[in-house]
Amino acid sequence: MTARLLGILFLTLFLAAGCGGNKYERDGYAFGCPTGTEKKIKSKEDLIEAKLEKSGNVPYVEVVDLRCAERNQLLRIEVDLMNEGSDVHRVAYRFRWVDREGMRAWEDESWKPVMIYAKTRHTVTTNSPNQEVADFRVELRSLDK
């Protein structure tokens, strides 16, 4: 009886540990992405809010997912943009790179225009430009006139 109870307890603890988040997550990272100075990232929505900087109003196009990974000592980032509207919309994006001290780790990137079809998801991908990069921001602005 005791063995059965202990077994159930271990199973419960094991499952609870599995639900408790990514056990491979390192300090200063959330969902694989560096958190920088932002410490209160509990969900993907928090992460997107912390990393996204909109220049003015960007109607219809939303960042719906953000993924990060380390490849060859560089940060690889994928950003999913979703056009919620019923027409084609155009936006421009660029990344801003920050080092461990919060200083700019790279010069301003060029704005890159993207056309997104109605009700469609578009993924933009990039790598950090050098190994000094420790954090990033995604800048987004509308190109619809």
């Binding site: 490849r71 560089l74 421009a92 704005w111 790598n127 050098n130």
Partner: protein
């Protein structure tokens, strides 16, 4: 009292009108964002150049040759312009070279276009005016292990009120000794103008 003749009246009115038009046509000069999206015409522009350079560099940084952290020596060769318009392809390769050099993962050897100046400087330092102990020695230049070359092509379609331009930029990194293609990537850009 003088009377104003119709001819004098018309001449004065014309001068006034010309002065007003000249005033309206005054040019306004403003600084813009060098990194902004440029859509003045659908010919090859600054945004295309910047997007190509950035895309190619970031892709190349992930290639095994560059990612190995062995600081490979690369020489830049021509990017052939196979489009119907004039494109300064040297400007594209210069931008790629700047980004790669700043990444700290690649070193560049002097390329064919810069060779004459390099040799002239080496020879100049051999003259009696230089301290021979501090002069660069002949025969010590480093040869590149890889060469970077590419091409840009375009397809232009034009109907009555629509002009569509498709650019494809292709870049390749070749191993000079083995002749193997170590990395290649391409960037596509489509621009449409409608009246």
């Amino acid at each position: 009292m003088k009377t104003v003749t119709p001819v004098r009246l018309i001449t004065t009115a014309m001068i006034c009108a010309l002065l007003t038009i000249a005033g309206c046509a005054k040019e306004a000069v403003r600084y813009g964002d060098a990194r902004g999206v440029e859509t003045v015409t659908n010919e090859f522009g600054s945004t295309d150049l910047q997007m190509i350079a950035e895309s190619m560099t970031r892709s190349m940084l992930n290639s095994p040759v560059i990612a190995s952290n062995n600081l490979p020596i690369v020489t830049v060769q021509d990017v052939k312009n196979k489009t119907s318009e004039y494109i300064d392809t040297k400007s594209i390769t210069d931008s790629i070279r700047v980004e790669l050099q700043k990444s700290g993962k690649v070193r560049f050897a002097v390329d064919a276009a810069e060779m004459r100046q390099q040799i002239e400087e080496l020879q100049r330092q051999q003259s009696e005016y230089y301290d021979s102990k501090q002069s660069a020695e002949i025969g010590k230049m480093s040869g590149a292990a890889y060469r970077l070359e590419g091409n840009i092509t375009s397809i232009v379609k034009q109907a009555k009120e629509v002009k569509d331009v498709y650019y494809k930029f292709n870049l390749q990194l070749w191993n000079i000794q083995s002749g193997l293609l170590e990395w290649t990537d391409e960037k596509e850009i489509r621009k449409t103008t409608s009246k």
